[in-house]
Structure formats: structure tokens, C-alpha cells
């Protein structure tokens, strides 16, 4: 059976694909950073809590308060890229989702349990005493499992030649475990979480330092060393990931295409520079450069996807429907801007309320 025959026919799109591509990259990048803060913050809290379960440090208590909120926001920011991904690549992603339906649907259950455990951990922090790390651990492990399911789906959708296995397993229990890129890719994301989680801690404490918090300096150091060691690991993992990519894809990044190759060189040299900033504990420069490098990595990831799918599909194949929806596109942008304005105002009110009490917003 020819895998190309299995690829479903795509639906028409209401405005040209470039718009969706733009929103996909933008919202995915935000989701990625928030997801990193969520998972990384969780792991760092767990690590510190396990080191001293009897008397958890103030950092642990602090992270425990923020953990549920990071889940709320990270999940919300996941909705948008998933939407735009379906517009452009739905005919690949629905297929891979059906093939692994059982695991894919279990994401919802795992998420609910992880989320409630996060709240439970926070609200019963003292009462749970030495059991607290178990509750946190459950939440973190579930979140990491969700990430693993996502990595499976995002790689399975790129590999129509593996789809024929459906004819022997129609019950939705496939995974993409034999794919050599799966684990390097997954670990690449998880290690990024440690880095970004550490950076978030450093940033928060930089702000507190300005407010005169005596403990802040130590925590900035701690956050930055998580960042730096994780980034060092990231460079190694990234190279392993590159070597296991299928050769048609890899060669594009190793000289086969100027654009692919320059982006990769830019990304890797940026990461090396980040190591320098990180070990020097330059929080703000690290943050700015990290934003840029994460964007580059997101673009590289997109190019990898395009290279994988090149034999089957390119987004420029998508046809624009005869009734276009530019007005709605505009409406979305307006609602987005107004909505963010209102949210900013609400956050400002919240911030002021806490500042009057001399505390930092949870």
C-alpha cells in the first residue's frame, strides 16, 4: 500500500496559509515558553523539595504557589497553536491522533489529575508535610507523560509510511516508539524546560531584588545555574537530534539549503553565546537572547516538519475558499488586541492590590 494514498484530502482555508503560519509560530512559541516554565518550575520544585522534605526551602513554597497558575496559562496557550496547526496540517494530525487515539485521549485525564494535584499540593502544602513531594511528583510526572504523548503525535503525523500499521492495530493503541528521533526530540523539549524554568526563577528574583529582597541574589544564582547546565546539555542533545534525523532532512541543514543551514548555524552559535551569558549570570541579556533563540528553534522545527512532509504536501497546496474571511481575520486581531488590553488592565489592578500589601503576586 502506498502511504501517499492514505493522506486525506485537505479542506479549503478561508485566508491564505501565511496568516495561519504566522499565528501558529507566534502562539506556539508562547505556549512552548509557558510549558517550559510550568514543567521546569515543577521539576525544580520537586528536586528542591526532595532534598529537604522536612523543611522545604522558601523557593519550594514560592514555586508551589505559582505552579497551578502556570498550568492554567500554559494549557490555554496550547489551544491556539493546536487550532492553527489543524488548519494547516489537520489532515495529517487527525490521522496520527486516531492511530494513537487511546493515548491521545488519555492526555485529558492526565491533565485533570495533574492540575488537581498541583492545586492540592499548593493548598495543603503544610498539612501534607512529608507527603507533599509525592503529590507534586505525581503532577510533574503526568505533565511529562503528556509531553511524551505530544512528541509521539507530532512525529507520527510526519511519517505516513508508518501509518500502514493501522491495518493491524485499528484500536488506537499505536505509538511512535521506534522512531529514532522520538527520544532525542522529547528530551530536547524537557531539558529546555529546566533551562527556561531556571531562567524564570532568576527573572522573578531579579525583580524582587529591586524591591530589596535579601534572598533574591542567591536565588538568581540558583536559577541561572539551572539555566546554564541545562543549556549545555541542550547543545549536546540538539546535535544528537540532528544526527538521527532522516538524511533527506538532515542534509538540508548541513549545507543542502542555505536558508536551513544558516538558521541552524545561527541557532547553535546563539546557544553557545547563551552559555556564556548564563554562566556569567547576566539575567536580562540571557532573557532577550533566549527569546530570540527559541524563536529560531521554533522556525527550525517548522522547517523540519516541512522537510518531512515535502514528498506529500506543502502548505502552499492548500486552496483558499471562494468565500474568503478577511473581515473575520481583522475581527480576530481586534479582539485579540482589545482582549489583551483588558487583561493587562486586570493584571495591573491585581498587581497594585498586592503591592499595597508589600507582597508579590502569586
Amino acid at each position: 500500500m502506498n502511504p501517499a494514498d492514505l493522506v486525506p484530502v485537505a479542506d479549503m482555508i478561508p485566508v491564505p496559509w501565511g496568516w495561519f503560519q504566522f499565528f501558529l509560530i507566534l502562539t506556539f512559541m508562547l505556549h512552548l515558553l509557558l510549558m517550559n516554565v510550568m514543567v521546569g518550575g515543577g521539576i525544580i520544585a520537586l528536586f528542591n523539595h526532595l532534598r529537604n522534605p522536612a523543611q522545604p526551602s522558601p523557593l519550594v513554597r514560592d514555586l508551589s504557589r505559582k505552579f497551578p497558575t502556570t498550568i492554567a496559562i500554559a494549557v490555554n496557550f496550547g489551544v491556539a497553536p493546536l487550532l492553527f496547526l489543524q488548519v494547516l496540517y489537520g489532515h495529517f494530525m487527525y490521522v496520527s491522533s486516531v492511530l494513537m487515539a487511546v493515548y491521545w485521549l488519555s492526555v485529558v485525564g492526565m491533565l485533570i489529575v495533574a492540575y488537581y494535584s498541583a492545586y492540592f499540593y499548593n493548598m495543603r502544602f503544610d498539612a501534607l508535610a512529608e507527603d507533599a513531594p509525592k503529590v507534586l511528583g505525581l503532577s510533574v510526572v503526568l505533565l511529562m507523560m503528556i509531553g511524551f504523548v505530544f512528541s509521539n503525535n507530532m512525529t507520527l503525523m510526519l511519517n505516513p509510511q508508518k501509518w500502514t500499521a493501522y491495518f493491524d492495530h485499528a484500536g488506537g493503541t499505536m505509538l511512535n516508539l521506534c522512531d529514532p528521533t522520538l527520544f532525542p526530540r522529547y528530551l530536547h523539549f524537557m531539558t529546555a524546560s529546566l533551562a527556561i524554568g531556571g531562567l524564570a526563577i532568576a527573572l522573578l528574583n531579579l525583580y524582587r531584588k529591586k524591591k530589596g529582597d535579601p534572598d533574591a541574589d542567591r536565588l538568581i544564582k540558583q536559577g541561572m545555574s539551572w539555566f546554564s547546565f541545562a543549556t549545555a546539555g541542550q547543545i549536546v542533545l540538539g546535535i544528537i537530534f540532528l544526527t538521527v534525523l532522516p538524511s533527506e532532512v538532515r542534509t538540508l541543514f548541513l549545507g543542502g539549503s542555505v536558508w536551513h543551514t544558516s538558521l541552524l548555524i545561527f541557532g547553535i552559535s546563539g546557544a553557545v553565546l547563551l552559555l556564556f551569558f548564563g554562566f556569567k549570570k547576566m539575567v536580562l541579556s540571557t532573557t532577550v537572547l533566549t527569546g530570540l533563540i527559541v524563536l529560531v528553534m521554533v522556525l527550525i522545527r517548522d522547517l523540519v516538519r516541512r522537510a518531512y512532509l515535502a514528498p506529500y504536501f506543502s502548505t502552499s497546496d492548500l486552496q483558499v475558499a471562494s468565500v474568503t474571511q478577511y473581515l473575520l481575520l481583522l475581527l480576530f486581531v481586534v479582539v485579540l488586541l482589545l482582549g489583551f488590553g483588558v487583561m493587562f488592565y486586570v493584571l495591573k489592578l491585581g498587581h497594585e492590590a498586592f503591592c499595597q500589601e508589600g507582597e508579590v503576586r502569586p
Binding site: M1, P8, V9, D11, M12, I13, P14, F20, T69, A72, N76, F77, V79, A80, L83, F84, Q86, V87, G90, H91, Y94, V95, S97, V98, A101, L105, V107, V108, L111, I112, Y115, Y116, W163, Y166, F167, A170, G171, G172, A321, S322, V323, Q325, L328, L329, L331, F332, V335, L336, G339, F340, V342, V346, L347, L349, G350, A353, F354, Q356, E357, P362
Partner: protein, 428 residues
């Protein structure tokens, strides 16, 4: 015919989506009405200068946050996951036509989260008017997200002029949009009262408890007749053929309609009983009981609404088994197996007849019929048929208005009948 089918057997026939959708809808409507309940009750506390009421609102907010933001929001994501697994083709149609409505809804959803978290964490710390403002902003975001999603849900049942024009606005503001919006808004207000019972019956102080429970009863009872009126309006805007499927020709609908009709007065009197003076030890379990009855109540309405859409996922546009009505004639010529992408047995032979029958069953029947499961089990439904009678039945499946026509060839119909008769019924 474009996508692979998830072979669910026992959980087929829409069991998964029914389970997840009903609990989601029950909590997400609370997320809207309950938001208004929070601000109005907070205002009441300020007006009556009662620290005890404010304290109650604060506790209720925590309950509200944990229920709606975690369970409500995550099951919402769950519905989305589920429909894309069960009906990828139709999901793709919805996504590609309404992507901007969904994107806008996402902004509202984010607004809800941000304002609810600020509302919760600043309770008692923020200046009164500002805090109320944040509460109002939450409610407005929540109601707007209902507004956005309501258009898409109603579209599936009554796509209206969209079928001809393909125009977004025709599809969004479709014939059942307004009645459904009112229906859902009133429902949301009632649920605020129903969930309010759960927390207000736990208030320690006797007098305050009585007065807050009565206040919640008012939330439940005041919108009740408007709710019924809008449900009636809703039913009346449905096209004739949809109403016929619901009220006249569907054997399985009867029990949901009966449940809805029976439970209406029960909920109403339940609300009245809560309003009279009873000891807390009676009211507490009664609150939970009413909440459960409410779930059955609303679940039955959702079942009726979903049932009315049969045999379509998107009325007039896509059958529940992902076939377009326009394509039926064409597929009858070429055959399902050769038109569908995801089948192994493209041509029926003597050896693969039963195997091919299974694929035909999975493609065309499993979306509505389970095998041995609780929803629309095919096994008892076909028990009295002999193989020849089944062949005959399959050829004229759409004589039952809740089923789509069988789009296959003569030979495919026979293979399907053989599979049902020999494999599912076990007549070797």
C-alpha cells in the same frame, strides 16, 4: 471516507462523546452563570454590610475556581480531542470554516482565566469597586465565550443558508443561534443557584445559611419559566424534518423526552423545598441530590438535541459516518471500499468477504452503533434478522429517518450483512 476510523466496538455509537460532553456542558454553563452569581452576591454583601456574606462569596469562589477552571476547562479541551478522533472529517470542516470564531473564543477563554485568578487571589485585598469590576470582566468574558461557541454548536444542527452560500455569517448566526443563546443563558443562571446550594448549605450560622439557601433558590427558580419558554422557542425554530426525527420517528428519543418532561417539575419543586426551613442535615444531601438530578435533566436535553441531528453530524452536509449526501450516488457506483482511503480490502473476494464486511461496518455503522456497548448496540437491533433480511434492510436503511442511506454497492451490502449475521450474531 477520508480518515481512518478508531475501532471502538464497545464504546462505539458515541458513548465517549456523550460522557465527556454532558459533564463538560454541566460545568461550563455553571462557569457562566456562576460568574454573575459571584459579583451579584459580592454586591449584596457590600450592600447589607455583611462580612459573613463576603466570606461566603470568597469560599464559593474557591469552589468555583477549582470546578470550572480545572474540570470545566479541561473537559472542554477533551471534547475537542474527542470529536477529532470520532469524526475527523466533520471536525476539519468546522475548524476550516470557523477557525476565527474559535480563535476569538480562545481570547475570551484566556480573559476568563486571567480575570478569575485575579478575582480569587485579590479577594479582600483589593478596593471594593475595582474588585467588583474584575468580577464583571470575568462574567463578560465567560458569556462572550458562550456566544462564540454557541454559533458553532448550533451550526451543526441548523446550518441554514450556509449550505448554499458557504458564508461564515450565515453559518454562525444560523436559525437556532438566538433561541439557543437564551436557552443556555437561562440554564447558566439556574445552574448558579443549583451549585450555590452545595456551598450555601455548608454555612455554619443558621440564619445566614437559611437566607443564602433561599437566595440560591431564587437563582434557580426565577429564570425557570424563561428557561422553559426558550427551550420551547428553540424546538420551534428547528426545521420540520428535525422535529419529526426527534418527536415522531425515533424510538430511542422517547426516554430522553420523557426524562426531560418528568424532571422539569422535580427540579422546580426541589428548589421550592430548599427555600423552606429545613435542618441543615436534610438540606446538605438534598443539595447534592438536586445537582445530580440537574445533570440528568440537562443531559437528556443535550441527548435530544444531538439525537435530532441524526443521521447527520452537520445537518445536510455530512452524515454521521462522514459521507456527504451529495456523494452517495457516486459512491454507490464505485463502491465504498474503493472510494475510502483507509481500507485494506479494496476488492471483495470469497476469502476476504467477512474481513471486508468488518471494514464496511466500521466505516458506515460504528459511528452510531456500538458492538455490545451501552449505546445503540447493533447486536440486539439485528437479532431478529436473517442474513437475507439484513441485506434487504441495508439496501433501504434510510427508510428509518435517523439513519443515512447505505452508500455501498450490492456486493458490499451483502458482505456487510454477512459480517453482521455471521460474526456479530455468531451464526457461523
Amino acid at each position: 471516507m477520508n480518515y481512518p476510523g478508531w475501532e471502538l466496538s464497545f464504546a462505539g455509537g458515541g458513548l465517549l462523546i456523550a460522557m465527556i460532553a454532558i459533564v463538560h456542558v454541566y460545568v461550563s454553563h455553571f462557569a457562566i452563570g456562576g460568574g454573575l452569581f459571584l459579583v451579584l452576591t459580592e454586591m449584596k454583601g457590600h450592600r447589607e454590610n455583611s462580612a459573613a456574606i463576603l466570606d461566603y462569596v470568597k469560599k464559593h469562589t474557591k469552589f468555583f475556581l477549582l470546578l470550572t477552571m480545572v474540570f470545566g476547562a479541561m473537559t472542554g479541551v477533551g471534547i475537542w480531542f474527542t470529536i477529532s478522533l470520532l469524526n475527523p472529517g466533520a471536525t476539519s470542516t468546522l475548524i476550516h470554516n470557523f477557525v476565527f470564531a474559535w480563535a476569538i473564543e480562545w481570547v475570551f477563554f484566556l480573559g476568563e482565566i486571567v480575570s478569575l485568578l485575579v478575582y480569587y487571589y485579590t479577594f479582600g485585598r483589593m478596593e471594593k469597586n475595582k474588585h467588583l469590576l474584575v468580577g464583571w470582566i470575568y462574567f463578560i468574558f465567560a458569556w462572550l465565550s458562550l456566544f462564540a461557541i454557541n454559533g458553532i454548536i448550533c451550526f451543526m444542527l441548523t446550518p441554514g443558508a450556509w449550505l448554499e452560500t458557504g458564508n461564515f455569517w450565515d453559518g454562525f448566526f444560523n436559525p437556532s443561534f438566538w433561541p439557543a443563546l437564551f436557552y443556555r443563558t437561562f440554564l447558566a443562571l439556574m445552574l448558579a443557584g443549583l451549585y450555590g446550594f452545595v456551598t450555601s448549605t455548608r454555612i455554619k450560622d443558621h440564619e445566614l445559611r437559611e437566607s443564602m439557601v433561599r437566595y440560591c433558590a431564587l437563582w434557580l427558580l426565577a429564570p425557570f419559566f424563561f428557561f422553559l419558554a426558550s427551550a420551547n422557542w428553540y424546538i420551534n425554530v428547528l426545521p420540520e424534518h428535525v422535529r419529526e426525527v426527534i418527536f415522531v420517528r425515533s424510538p430511542e428519543m422517547v426516554r430522553y423526552i420523557k426524562t426531560f418532561a418528568l424532571v422539569s417539575p422535580v427540579i422546580f419543586f426541589g428548589g421550592l423545598v430548599m427555600a423552606i426551613g429545613l435542618p441543615a442535615r436534610v438540606k446538605k444531601p438534598l443539595a447534592y441530590l438536586l445537582l445530580l438530578i440537574g445533570l440528568v435533566y440537562m443531559g437528556s436535553f443535550e441527548f435530544i438535541r444531538e439525537g435530532g441531528r441524526k443521521p447527520f453530524v452537520i445537518y445536510g452536509h455530512t452524515y454521521s459516518n462522514n459521507v456527504s449526501p451529495l456523494k452517495v450516488e457516486q459512491i454507490r457506483e464505485t463502491g465504498i471500499l474503493s472510494s475510502a482511503k483507509w481500507v485494506k480490502n479494496k476488492v471483495i473476494t470469497d476469502e476476504n468477504r467477512l474481513e471486508a464486511g468488518r471494514e464496511l461496518f466500521n466505516l458506515t455503522c460504528l459511528p452510531c452503533h456500538s458492538v455490545g456497548g451501552p449505546i445503540n448496540d447493533i447486536v440486539p437491533l439485528t437479532a431478529m434478522f436473517k442474513e437475507r433480511a439484513l441485506e434487504f434492510k441495508i439496501k433501504r436503511l434510510d427508510k428509518s429517518p435517523y439513519m443515512p442511506p447505505f452508500a455501498g454497492t450490492e456486493q458490499e451490502g451483502k458482505a456487510l450483512a454477512a459480517y453482521i449475521f455471521q460474526e456479530l450474531q455468531g451464526n457461523k
